[in-house]
Assembly symmetry: C2
Homo-oligomer: 205 residues x 2
């Protein structure tokens, strides 16, 4: 285990960069964005402040890099795969809801949810950050029907952007309530809410 690895400079640098990103996610979530210190992030990664400033321009850039790293990471890829598989909409909704609850229960997700919300608030006060975060949260809009709204449901009658914004609101809002009070807002409730939104429309034009 403790075999001193012999790495090239480049390898070592990349390795350290990743360790810093992971440490930052953890520490930012634990302490809050404003409460987290660069020193603590570095220590969590087994490095020092020098490493942080050598790899990132400052706290703010570190923050955004963590978001990018995560959003492009495995978790998001998985959700995307689920969302854009050619699957039937009905079971897709069910599966997505199950997946959501499962991840909400898993601890690893908590850190990210906390950081996301905090970064949103932070972005509200900082136009430069806001712009970048909006691009991350609302990627270039698709057209047509939202993958999570089965044809025939009321949700499916909305333009993509609207359905998307509604679902994202529910997603982020419920994540927050689950974090705050899982006993009042259990993760399974997401499936219920999603069910309501995607229920077949009672059709009188």
């Amino acid at each position: 285990m403790a075999v001193a690895e012999r790495l090239t400079r480049q390898e070592r640098r990349e390795h350290n960069r990743l360790k810093l990103l992971e440490a930052a996610e953890k520490v930012f979530a634990e302490r809050g964005i404003q409460g987290a210190s660069i020193d603590e992030v570095a220590a969590e990664a087994g490095l020092t402040k020098g490493a942080v400033y050598s790899n990132f321009a400052g706290k703010e850039e570190l923050l955004l890099e963590v978001m990018r790293y995560r959003l492009h990471g495995e978790a998001q890829a998985q959700a995307d795969r689920l969302l854009h598989s050619g699957r039937d909409s009905g079971e897709l909704v069910e599966e997505f809801a199950r997946y959501w609850a499962e991840r909400a229960r898993a601890g690893d997700q908590e850190a990210f949810a906390q950081m996301t919300v905090e970064l949103m608030i932070h972005a509200t006060r900082n136009p430069a950050v806001r712009e970048q975060l909006v691009d991350l949260v609302f990627p270039p809009a698709s057209e047509g029907r939202h993958p999570l709204s089965p044809p025939g449901s009321a949700l499916a009658e909305l333009p993509y952007a609207q359905a998307d914004a509604i679902l994202k609101s529910l997603d982020i809002g419920m994540r927050l309530l689950v974090l705050l009070a899982p006993e009042r807002c259990p993760p399974e409730l997401f499936a219920t809410a999603l069910g309501l939104l995607t229920a077949p429309r009672s059709d009188h034009p």
Copy 2:
């Protein structure tokens, strides 16, 4: 205007306490909970740090007092009146949605929304705060049908607590998205979402 008012000690103290609460709300929203300094809150109120520590035990208590003040204040009273007037559920939903959008657009609401979300996150890390905030956000549960879910709607078939949690998730989540990106998530979308949730159920048992 600048007539030096002659007040009793008690009057002056109460007056200053209120000024501090209002200043705190503004500063906490502008700078963030961790970023706001007691000195700045005091200055915003035209007072000094001494006044804050004379009226509140510390930063944390000030924070919670602001929440209580606001939640019991005029705005909330108004919403409650709306919610519990004996009105017909259908127009109640409409009116509530209109009210929601109107307040989301008004600047005064922004500060509170930001503070609420931040305090939620803060509470997540601090059990004592969490407990108090949960009591504020989820007041002693009512029974039966939720006032915002018209009889016959799918939402009305859920227990009060579940309907409540779903609506609160949507509320807080959309507030956050409206704050972050009103151009992607306009306040009117709340009415749309609420309409979906409270649409009459397509009834096959």
